[in-house]
């Protein structure tokens, strides 16, 4: 039984649109990665060399020898992981009573604050934060970045954890209550283990957002806490742009995210819309 010609035509049209969209989505990534592996003559040749060039790691070795690259890489990892941990711990704690719809002091103001943090343009807070950070001698400190990143990403963590905790039936906790366990014990030993996949998804998403952060370190990081996005952004500011090093830097920065987007896609997708769309 073959489909009707009209249906076939529609399928062909659908595949055509998907194919074009996929090329548009992936080509810039392919082009950046392939350019980073080219010698300068191949990178700048017209017409472009899509394939059939001699690959070289020369650009990467130059990138790794760029002053500050090593520090920037380590700082980015440190701040990303540190803030992901802090955000997820603080977010899970706050998410628990919100998810269970209990009434408690400050519930509504907290919910409203999270919405404001999510919606306010970060530059609005960065101007006074810079002033405060300088006045208190906190400039160029990894811990400052960790705390500020965590605050900005807290809404994502809370909203994601709320939805994951709500998927766990409350009846399970009642048995714990009867045994006289404290709320914190119930959360740590009963709820969070059951929400482990959600906890993992939240950690991954928060880490990605922290890894990408630009404006916060642009304002609050000095020479010793410069992050990777900051470092690579300086590559375009010189008069003559070194495309080889620049594409290598862009590749190194996006690679972990591209890999996670492929392998942790379900986790990421489940988290992104939360807080706005109810399932």
């Amino acid at each position: 039984m073959s489909p009707r010609p009209l249906t076939r035509l529609r399928h062909a049209g659908s595949y055509f649109v998907l194919a074009v969209a996929t090329i548009i989505a992936l080509f810039p990534i392919f082009w950046t990665m392939s350019t980073s592996l080219k010698q300068i003559v191949d990178a700048l040749s017209i017409p472009p060399k899509f394939i059939g060039f001699h690959p070289t790691l020369h650009n990467y070795s130059r990138l790794f020898h760029t002053p500050g690259f090593g520090t920037a890489y380590v700082t980015t990892l440190e701040v990303t992981l540190g803030s992901a941990l802090l955000t997820v711990v603080v977010g899970s704690l706050a998410a628990y009573p919100i998810a269970r719809r209990w009434r408690f002091l400050g519930r509504r103001p907290l919910e409203a604050s999270l919405v404001i943090i999510r919606a306010i343009p970060p530059i609005v807070l960065m101007v006074p934060l810079f002033n405060l950070v300088i006045n208190h001698g906190l400039y160029d400190e990894p811990l400052t970045l960790i705390v500020v990143y965590s605050a900005f990403n807290l809404p994502f963590a809370v909203w994601m954890m709320v939805s994951f905790i709500q998927q766990i039936p409350y009846e399970l906790e009642e048995s714990g209550e009867v045994d006289g366990a404290s709320r914190l014990r119930i959360l740590v030993h009963l709820v969070l283990p059951l929400a482990a996949p959600g906890l993992a998804a939240t950690t991954i998403l928060i880490s990605l957002i922290a890894w990408n952060e630009f404006l916060i370190p642009l304002v609050l990081a000095g020479n010793s806490t410069r992050t990777l996005p900051l470092l690579i952004s300086t590559f375009v500011q010189s008069r003559t742009i070194d495309w080889g090093v620049m594409t290598a830097g862009a590749t190194i920065t996006i690679l972990p995210i591209a890999i996670l987007t492929v392998f942790a896609q379900r986790s990421l997708v489940s988290g992104l819309g939360l807080g706005a769309v109810k399932e």
Binding site: P48, I116, I123, L129, V148, W243, A258
Partner: protein, 299 residues
């Protein structure tokens, strides 16, 4: 949505046991909120009526609304507001239809849908700064692959980064490249949550694909469309990284949006108080978004 939890009717002792810890759970979160939202907002408001700047030696003094007169009621601010509005409006007009279109195609669940979905989502979470660099290389007027493509198809060349229109176009292209997957994802979730019955009934009545889309899908998707639009407006005000990397507001200040203007005033010109004043106005402009969003999360 979930099993309703039993309301707690506390006696005094139960209150101490059950309610007090609930507040304690939120204290760390309050710590972050106070340090990074509440104190900076209060500080921004107080800075905005002073003349604090980083090259000011000596104490700042109270200047009333002077900063609002010199920095908000000016052509530079209005220009940046218009730039922001252009990015948001054209962005929405492009990203929502394209995202919805791709979502409806993915929703047909043709063979290979999973592969296409993964591929199409790829740009969404990539580091905006790195994405800006990638496209800058492609937009380059002599060596870029985009101009090579345009030349080989015989179309007119575009001065992507050297002209105002080119600058707008390049930022919108890059922004849409990252946002369309996000819109698509939302729409796909929205489509998958729709009831099946109206569509079956329409098919029985002989409605065509376009008709059922226009008269069933779109009305049912209205709530999701509204939320996505709201998020895009919020994100439009936040837009900073790719503008900074791709045009840096140029040529001149042609593509300088509000976020970049505020950054320039606060950190390039070192005028803390003037930057704070611009920020306070920006934050106030988003008041409807805070209210709508809070309502959306409570429902």
């Amino acid at each position: 949505m979930t099993a309703e939890t039993k309301p707690l009717r506390p006696t005094a002792r139960m209150w101490a046991r059950t309610k007090l810890p609930l507040v304690a759970f939120t204290l760390p979160a309050w710590g972050l909120v106070v340090a990074v939202l509440a104190i900076p907002i209060v500080s921004a408001v107080s800075l905005s009526v002073q003349n604090q700047s980083l090259d000011l030696f000596g104490p700042a003094t109270y200047v009333g609304f002077a900063n609002f007169r010199t920095d908000v009621l000016t052509s530079a601010f209005v220009h940046s507001l218009v730039v922001t509005a252009i990015f948001i409006t054209i962005g929405l007009l492009v990203q929502i239809p394209v995202g919805l279109w791709l979502a409806t195609i993915l929703h047909r669940e043709l063979r290979g849908t999973r592969f296409f979905r993964s591929a199409l989502l790829m740009p969404m979470l990539l580091t905006p700064v790195a994405v800006g660099l990638m496209w800058r290389f492609m937009f380059n007027s002599d060596l870029g692959v985009i101009d090579w493509f345009i030349r080989s198809t015989g179309l007119t060349q575009v001065d992507w980064l050297g002209s105002a229109n080119g600058g707008f176009a390049s930022i919108l292209i890059v922004n849409s490249w990252q946002n369309v997957p996000f819109v698509m994802l939302f729409m796909l979730a929205g489509l998958q949550a729709l009831p099946k019955e109206p569509f079956e009934a329409a098919e029985v009545d002989g409605a065509g694909g376009w008709q059922s889309f226009r008269y069933i899908t779109l009305p049912l998707l209205r709530p999701v469309l509204l939320i996505v639009t709201m998020i895009m407006i919020v994100e439009g005000f936040k837009l900073f990284d790719i503008v900074y990397v791709i045009t840096n507001g140029g040529p001149g200040t042609a593509t300088q949006n509000l976020s970049l203007l505020d950054y320039r005033v606060g950190f390039t010109f070192l005028a803390t108080s003037r930057g704070a004043a611009i920020g306070v106005v920006m934050a106030l402009m988003l008041t409807p978004a805070y209210i709508l969003w809070t309502r959306a999360t409570r429902e």
